[in-house]
């Protein structure tokens, strides 16, 4: 005896708010070399960066659009205003941030996070870092957490950045990497010196505000030997009618024996196109752990890639994707075993509901030199109704005999048994389903710091409210 309920639009009002655009000014029109010159001049780019941008634009114009995966027809990139600059300059102190901007972050919970034992917050507002505060302990340990643009001008880091910037994800990689190379703006730079292990997670929070603006922030993290860092990236954007675009880039360098955990909850608004390129390269004995929860955005392409480049390097990927009404989420992960005795482990789950479409694409590549490597991939998909879709397309590419690669995937629905069991304890059917789905997403929530796990569970609750009967 199930009750049919109306499919209600997901209540995202907690995140859907914005301000008048008088705070910002825009650069008109599409993307031409003169625009790039202007951006470069605004930012006071060093000569090499100015050339890099122009070169990237050339590559962008010559590169065809990606022609597989979710459709991005609704996206007219040339009309996306690429650079929004708010009135405020970067601040070291929360108090000096203008009120309306402060309110945005306050509503999104940043100050609370600040009060808790987090090391620092780099928050991006409309393509630039507005508020930035590095805690003393972090600064003392020698960890550098600053915005990428100023680090580029700092003689201490300029060379380091030049030798690493877009070497892991070159502009030639694909069209949006080229776009990124030309118009990138803002983003974090993190440098962890040898042997430093930072217990407190560093978090970054960015937000898209102006109509039609694109987010092109670049995150560059360099971990020296035997260091440790947990970096959390979480984002949100308000709902618009014009297509919003996020074409960010994340480059992670993990040196010998170092360990990096990179956690993300993506909760972009439903009109967003989330085309993000994330890549990590891990040296001998190093480790990269990705924890990823993908909820929002209209269309998403997200395939974090890990290159295991030194003996004994390892990668772990734990992810959950929730595709709801009107969403087409294309996610997955790529792992390349390029050295002996490397290991990888993937545990991904996906949920499809209310006509949403979730596509999981993965690749585990074991090169000839990756003797003694091990890989285990486990994917599970949950269908919540008959109108949604879930596609799983994994590839295992092995070029040596001396390895062990295992892969398992399952798809199914919530069992009637489980619903009956929970309802017999007084939960309504809706609550029972929400509880089971939260349990299903446990692989990710248990890897996140508490406040993120709570946010994720709340998101699931919102998404589950109003199931198709």
């Amino acid at each position: 005896m199930k009750e049919k309920t109306q499919v209600t639009d997901i209540d995202r009002s907690l995140y859907d708010f914005r301000y008048e655009e008088d705070e910002s000014d825009f650069l008109e029109g599409g993307i031409t070399p003169s625009i790039i010159e202007e951006i470069s001049k605004e930012k006071n780019d060093p000569e090499w960066m100015r050339e890099f941008r122009l070169n990237s634009l050339e590559i962008y114009n010559k590169t065809p659009m990606v022609n597989w995966g979710a459709s991005i027809d609704g996206l007219d990139v040339d009309n996306i205003v690429t650079y929004i600059r708010p009135k405020t300059r970067m601040n070291k102190d929360w108090d000096s941030v203008p009120d309306n901007i402060k309110e945005t972050f306050e509503r999104l919970g940043i100050p609370q996070a600040e009060r808790e034992s987090l090391a620092g917050v780099g928050a991006q507002y409309d393509s630039e870092l507005v508020y930035h505060n590095v805690r003393e302990e972090v600064a003392k340990s020698g960890v550098v957490y600053t915005d990428l643009e100023s680090a580029m001008h700092d003689p201490k880091y300029a060379e380091l950045i030049r030798s690493h910037f877009m070497k892991l994800v070159p502009p030639t990689d694909h069209k949006f990497a080229a776009l990124h190379g030309a118009v990138w703006s803002g983003g974090s730079f993190v440098y962890v010196p040898e042997g430093v292990k930072l217990d407190i997670p560093l978090q970054s929070y960015f937000r898209l505000n102006a109509k039609g603006a694109g987010q092109f922030e670049h995150t560059l993290i360099i971990l020296e030997k035997n260091s440790y860092l947990h970096f959390i990236e979480g984002c949100s954007a308000p709902k618009y009618y014009e297509a919003g675009l996020h074409a960010g880039c994340v480059e992670l360098y993990v040196a010998e024996g170092a360990s990096l955990r990179y956690s993300t909850i993506e909760n972009w608004s439903k009109n967003m196109y989330n085309l993000n390129t994330k890549r990590a390269i891990v040296e001998e004995g190093g480790k990269i752990e990705w924890v990823s929860g993908s909820f929002g955005s209209h269309v998403s392409y997200l395939y974090p890639m890990s290159i295991l480049n030194g003996r004994g390097a390892s990668a772990e990927f734990t992810g959950i994707t929730f595709a709801g009404e009107g969403q087409d989420l294309d996610t997955g992960a790529k792992i390349v075993h390029n050295a002996p005795d490397t290991s990888s482990y993937m545990n991904t789950k996906s949920i499809s509901k209310s006509g949403g479409k979730s596509t999981f694409r993965s690749a585990v590549v074991v090169n000839k030199n990756a003797v003694g490597s091990k890989s285990s991939v486990n994917c599970e998909s949950l269908m919540l109704d008959r109108i949604s879709r879930s596609d799983t397309v994994p590839v295992i590419d092995v070029k040596t005999d001396k390895c062990d690669v295992g892969h398992e995937a399952k798809i199914g629905r919530i069992s009637d048994e489980a619903i009956f069991y929970l309802t017999s304890r007084g939960l309504s059917e809706e609550e029972a389903r929400a509880m089971i789905v939260r349990g299903f997403a446990d692989n990710v929530s248990k890897e996140l710091p508490l406040e993120y796990a709570v946010e994720m569970n709340n998101l699931i609750g919102l998404e589950m409210h109003g199931s198709v009967g």
Binding site: V393, V398, D404
Partner: protein, 274 residues
């Protein structure tokens, strides 16, 4: 001769992996049509080992309640393109057994449409490749009917510089309520120069289904090796036994003595030990 694109993955992946499709120059002929009438039982055994067989296509239509076994043994040296299209009606059943032994370039496409209610498609495939053998196999099982069942198993043993691409898709269409689909590959790699690509795909547009796929690729399980060692077998013998067992799963399903003899001979196994 025409240039034909085949073995297309229903949903493409990163093109750099080279598994989205295959292209070959072939002389198309046929296809051969076989229709098995309602409630009929039929066994079809084909041994495809002539150099001159460059292209073979079979269209198999299985009416309601029919029970068919199709055995195809591909003992190859020269290139071959094989196409197999299957349609299953209500309660129809197909047991497909395919054995691939060698072949410089085999491209095999299998498309099964489980149209009828409770249609069943079982596929047991074995591959033994050595030297410069190459195989690209694309199996797509489209489950349209309610309570349809697919069960696909592949056992592969690769040595020398062999190259294998196996793409297996279970496609649950909307309407396939109560359907079940299962796919498993077990690939044993015996030399450092082999290349094995596996693409186990599940596509789903229906809620009430059960799908699972698994793949194990690489060396033998250390625990199995230890167990066999503790029973006195040396490493060479162990590998021989384990390779055989991976292939025997499909070979045992042919159900035909004569065919099996030919297969053992082609594999150099002599008489089967009881």
């Amino acid at each position: 001769m025409e240039n034909v694109k085949l073995n297309t993955l229903p949903v493409p992946t990163f093109s750099s992996l080279g598994v989205n499709f295959a292209e070959r120059e072939i002389e198309i002929s046929g296809p051969e049509h076989i229709s098995v009438g309602a409630n009929e039982q039929k066994q079809i055994i084909r041994y495809i080992d002539r150099e001159s067989d460059a292209f073979t296509a079979l269209d198999l239509n299985i009416e309601s309640g029919a029970d068919v076994k199709l055995v195809q043994v591909f003992e190859r040296t020269a290139p071959l393109v094989s196409k197999l299209d299957i349609a299953l009606g209500d309660n129809a059943k197909l047991d497909l057994v395919q054995i691939y032994i060698g072949g410089s370039d085999t491209v095999s496409e299998i498309g099964a449409k489980l149209n009828g209610r409770k249609a069943v498609f079982n596929a047991d495939i074995a591959m033994k490749l050595d030297g410069k053998d190459k195989i690209d196999l694309n199996l797509v099982s489209e489950q349209f009917g309610k309570k349809t069942v697919s069960d696909i198993k592949l056992g592969a043993v690769l040595s020398g510089e062999a190259r294998k691409i196996f793409k297996g898709t279970i496609d649950f269409k909307n309407g396939a309520v109560g359907a079940k689909g299962s796919e498993h590959e077990d690939a044993l790699l015996l030399s450092e120069d082999v290349v094995s690509k596996t693409v186990p795909v599940i596509l789903c547009a229906e809620e009430d289904v059960e799908g699972n796929h698994g793949a194990t690729v690489g060396r033998l399980d250390e625990r199995h090796v230890f167990y066999l060692r503790s029973r006195g077998l040396d490493e060479e013998k162990i590998y021989e036994l384990m390779a055989r067992s991976k292939l025997l799963q499909a070979i045992d399903k042919t159900g035909d003595e004569q065919t099996n003899s030919r297969i053992y001979k082609a594999l150099g196994w002599g008489e089967r030990d009881e």
